[in-house]
Symmetry: C2
Subunit: 347 residues, 2 copies
């Protein structure tokens, strides 16, 4: 079967690999019908250590169950399913606290941590299928597929940013980053009742979509200038919640600059730093809280799906390009060059 392999920075190839197949009684084999490229795939695209050998890519997909192991009970052959970006058993005590990305099961992992499988491929073996997969009540050709595909990562991640940021009726919110996650954090903040949503981003086609998703203000400046503008928009105070969907240190510093006294910085951009200011002069003096992490998107799928099925929201608008597997390397390049926001892949 065909799959996507990354050999090193900028080096993405489509190659034949051994067919995925059932190994354990809790596995499902899924033929992938829709997948995509993630903003986080660009981190290894920039800095992967080629010495580690090629990596299988892709952690977001929808597909049709082709076979299941003997112990799988929640999905069956022929079901259309969506997978979160992390495999989990959904029954351990951490999963029951709705933190499936920290599942205690020994097979639990991010797809990016499972070396012999990937979502940008023709098929995939899904461990812990009962805990991981969620059945979709539509056909594989449904016009809703792009939006349902966002439940595998970017929508759930944007939603997690807003939930972990404590966004609620009347909140003021700043979203840092106009990638797919940032834009869906806007949509999520709107859904949770935020009154003011300031989107910090520099790409007008993206911030225009952000306005469509519910942003009340757009600030394209960054650094001190951007901070000053957000403060100006908020009576000098900053916003209750800051949803940080980038992961680089300047985004964290920007978050410190625009958060209100007593507010929350909710991070879903994977931090590209380990140490950062959190002492008296940054977080402590004004009781600024820090929240977020890898989104337990599994916890949100059932909650968010009805809004998509009933047409109230269309998170799939973050896809602005579609390709087959052969076009995936070009898709990485386009996303890296910011000529595509997010690329849908139909294997």
């Amino acid at each position: 079967m065909l799959a996507t392999l990354m050999y090193g920075p900028g080096d993405v190839r489509i190659e034949n690999v051994p067919d995925s197949r059932i190994k354990n009684s809790t596995d499902a084999l899924v033929r992938i019908t829709a997948s995509c490229i993630c903003g986080s795939d660009l981190h290894p695209y920039h800095s992967m250590d080629a010495a580690g050998g090629p990596a299988r890519m892709g952690h977001e997909f929808i597909g049709i169950v082709e076979a299941v192991g003997a112990d799988v009970v929640t999905v069956k052959q022929g079901d259309l399913v969506v997978s979160p970006f992390a495999v989990s058993d959904n029954v351990c005590e951490i999963c029951r606290e709705n933190l499936q990305t920290s599942c205690l099961h020994h097979e639990a992992n991010f797809w990016d941590g499972i070396s012999d499988e990937g979502g940008q491929a023709e098929a995939i073996r899904v461990p812990l299928a009962d805990g991981t997969l969620v059945k979709l009540p539509v056909a594989a050709e449904s016009a809703l597929i792009p939006s349902l595909l966002t439940l595998s990562d970017v929508f759930g991640t944007g939603y997690h940013a807003a939930v972990a940021g404590g966004v609620t009726e009347g909140s003021t919110v700043t979203v840092i980053g106009d990638g797919a996650v940032g834009l869906l954090a806007v949509l999520s903040a709107k859904r949770l009742g935020a009154e003011r949503i300031i989107l910090m981003g520099r790409h007008q086609s993206r911030t225009d979509l952000g306005r469509e998703f519910g942003a009340t203000d757009v600030v394209s400046a960054r650094g001190e200038e951007g901070i000053a503008l957000v403060r100006e928009l908020t009576g000098g105070h900053g916003t209750h919640a800051v949803l940080e969907a980038v992961g680089h240190m300047p985004a964290y510093e920007q978050a410190l600059g625009v958060v209100r006294r007593g507010g929350v910085i909710s991070r879903v951009g994977v931090p590209q730093y380990e140490v950062a200011p959190i002492g008296f002069g940054s977080l402590f003096r004004h009781n600024i809280r820090l929240a977020g992490g890898p989104a337990p998107v599994r916890a949100y799928i059932e909650e968010l799906m009805p809004d998509i099925l009933e047409g109230r929201i269309e998170p799939g608008k973050v896809f602005d390009a579609t390709t087959d597997l052969a076009g995936v390397p070009a898709g990485y390049r386009d996303m890296d060059e910011r000529t595509s926001l997010k690329v849908l892949v139909t294997p």
Copy 2:
């Protein structure tokens, strides 16, 4: 009048200073009847820059109102009052969100930031008296005074640690530090319904009081050994909340080691560091949250006072020594040498 001045590390003196007096129409003049020395007073006792000139000391007190400015309406001459360690107007939009330690009023400040007044003295001018002071329904000689005095800082601070840590019915909690704040964080966690309260501290007389306040377990080891013991007590998982009442980097590292996936590190020990690990390998991977800061004790006084007045709790047990003003320098020394837990001062 007599007041406490710190001239440099280890150099505390009682001296005559100009009498405190009303300056603004929103001031009250309070004759102090009970005050105390705080664990945080030991930070300048170790490292104060003597070049800054002597500093007036003390930020916790109870006293009798001697006079009020023309605009003061909530307290009057003869009232017994308690003051939080921070002055606030209690009506600005940040105070209304119960974050009085970040009050927006230009006169708002920590007592430690008001250079010409201090609580370890015979009298004090209280700015923003209506917002700051709370009337006590007892006499200045009441046996409840030590417990009521803890409302000015250490009890409210321990309580803030627990509230900001999200402690609730059934929570598992680790408290790091067996000073007065740590011990009252134990009492607070118990009051909020925590099921398991592990106190990390090395002084048996203190941890014994911690057990009396509700600690279910005591771990005297620190660092990796202490972390391993807490993990062992919690099925390997650590606790939902970690209340960090020390402020030094090893305490933060210990907190990272004992917090459960998805849990909260709530800091009330003033950080003696600015940068610290918060990236993928520390907070982010498992959605560990960070909370806390200077406690808005003003927000908690009315909530906590009935438990003291009705004898359900006795936070004043943290005082294990009493002195007059002349004995304050020795009180600092005793607290620094850990021969006293907390010293009550009756001017």
